[in-house]
Symmetry: C2
DNA sequence: CGCGGTATTTTGACTAGTCAAAATATAATT
DNA sequence: AATTATATTTTGACTAGTCAAAATACCGCG
């Protein structure tokens, strides 16, 4: 069985390739996993031995099909657990990420199947991220429209929070910009770098352009 | 934070002292944890350093108050998780032990509190074992009456399955001797080493005397 | 082309947990 | 009391994962 360290490496790589099969650098991985770069090199070589990824020296890594399947399994556990913690155990939307980070390595397939049944086979987690199915296919990654590149004054709905950092989640929580919330973009000010939008129950919210790119939306009729 | 190995050592010791503060030998521990005796000696010395237990050389170990509290916390997680898996996720009574064995080290206090609320603060798990409360006190260990030492032809109710090995659990499952089941002991045959009892919905069951001692009961009016 | 800067890899060392096997202490038996 | 059996401890070695710091490769730039 894969240790939880191995699972974390693979998941981190998967999360940073997102469909496009571009290569992930050692530095990025070291940052993501909070270890020094030398450690990543060592570990990555071991994982390449096991056939879980390809390592081009001095370039970076890319998951093999076996590695991808394993990573998708972990991601599935993570997201189903998050959904469960929010929907069933009524836990706070912005704190479940860390909890799921620990639980994803301890939940067996058997338990996961029960959770999946219990929840009625959801397809997205509370942050709007798609939940891979049992066979490892992820629901269509519809080219993401964010607050940064959407039309102005159109009725929208928050589809997904891309940046999962606790601080950002907290901000989203405060302003009511959670997945499912209705809103429309009032105006963008490239000069000041600020974007204004009108959130349905809540009022006007201002946020920086980089931050706006972290909130995916879809239009509603 | 205590590693899961540490948690397992402490839990194993707690489980083998059961109220009475008698000492646990290295051999018993090695057997329980499935490691060689030398490993236990090494580990135990480290735990003694940390003040989690007392180690009398060549005799055995005994938990300190700090160690006991930690072990009770783990036991509480284990039993609440078991209860949750059976009651909420409808998992099989005889398979949850192993699952809980993994989950008990990954569930945070925060998640545990939600589970406890969700279940309505149960006091015993599906095997009839008492669940320690948040402060680490275990509901009265009423001197255990088992099928071995109870009165004959009296209406009884299974209170607890003492032997948690998968094989025994499976047998209990088959014969319907689960906690809560009604029964009465028809006769004991010391000569043949067999005990016969009448289980309420199920009929007559025969079991060996050592096995009879693994099923705790209480009388019902 | 050669040079500096950045990212990556290597090297040596450390911690937690483990085993195999030899050494030692304790208890049991004759 | 001497010997044997049994349990415990010690010793040396190994794996997984990690860090610090030195060595190396690669990039762009003057």
């Amino acid at each position: 069985m894969a240790t939880s360290t191995v699972e974390n490496y693979l998941k981190a790589i998967l999360l940073r390739t997102e469909g496009s099969d571009h290569i992930v650098s050692m530095g990025v991985l070291a940052e993501a996993l909070d270890v020094v770069p030398g450690t990543v090199t060592t570990m990555v070589k071991a994982l390449a031995e096991q056939g879980l990824l390809d390592h081009q020296s001095r370039q970076g890594v890319r998951l093999t099909e076996a590695g991808r399947q394993l990573a998708l399994g972990v991601l599935r556990k993570h997201r189903l657990v998050e959904t469960f913690l929010v929907q069933t155990l009524k836990m706070d939307w912005s704190e479940v990420h860390e909890e799921a980070e620990a639980l994803e390595h301890a939940v067996s397939e058997r338990v996961l199947a029960q959770i999946d049944d219990f929840l009625g086979h959801p397809t997205t987690d509370p942050h709007g991220d798609p939940i891979p199915d049992v066979n490892g296919s992820v629901a269509g990654g519809a080219a993401s429209v964010t607050l940064l590149n959407c039309a102005l004054n159109q009725p929208l709905c928050v589809a997904r929070i891309i940046d999962q950092s606790p601080a950002f989640l907290e901000f989203v929580q405060q302003t009511g910009l959670k997945p499912g919330a209705r809103l429309q973009v009032v105006r963008r000010e490239p000069a000041s770098g600020v974007l204004h939008c009108e959130v349905r129950p809540g009022g006007e919210v201002a946020l920086g352009l980089p931050e706006a790119g972290k909130i995916a939306v879809r239009s509603v009729s």
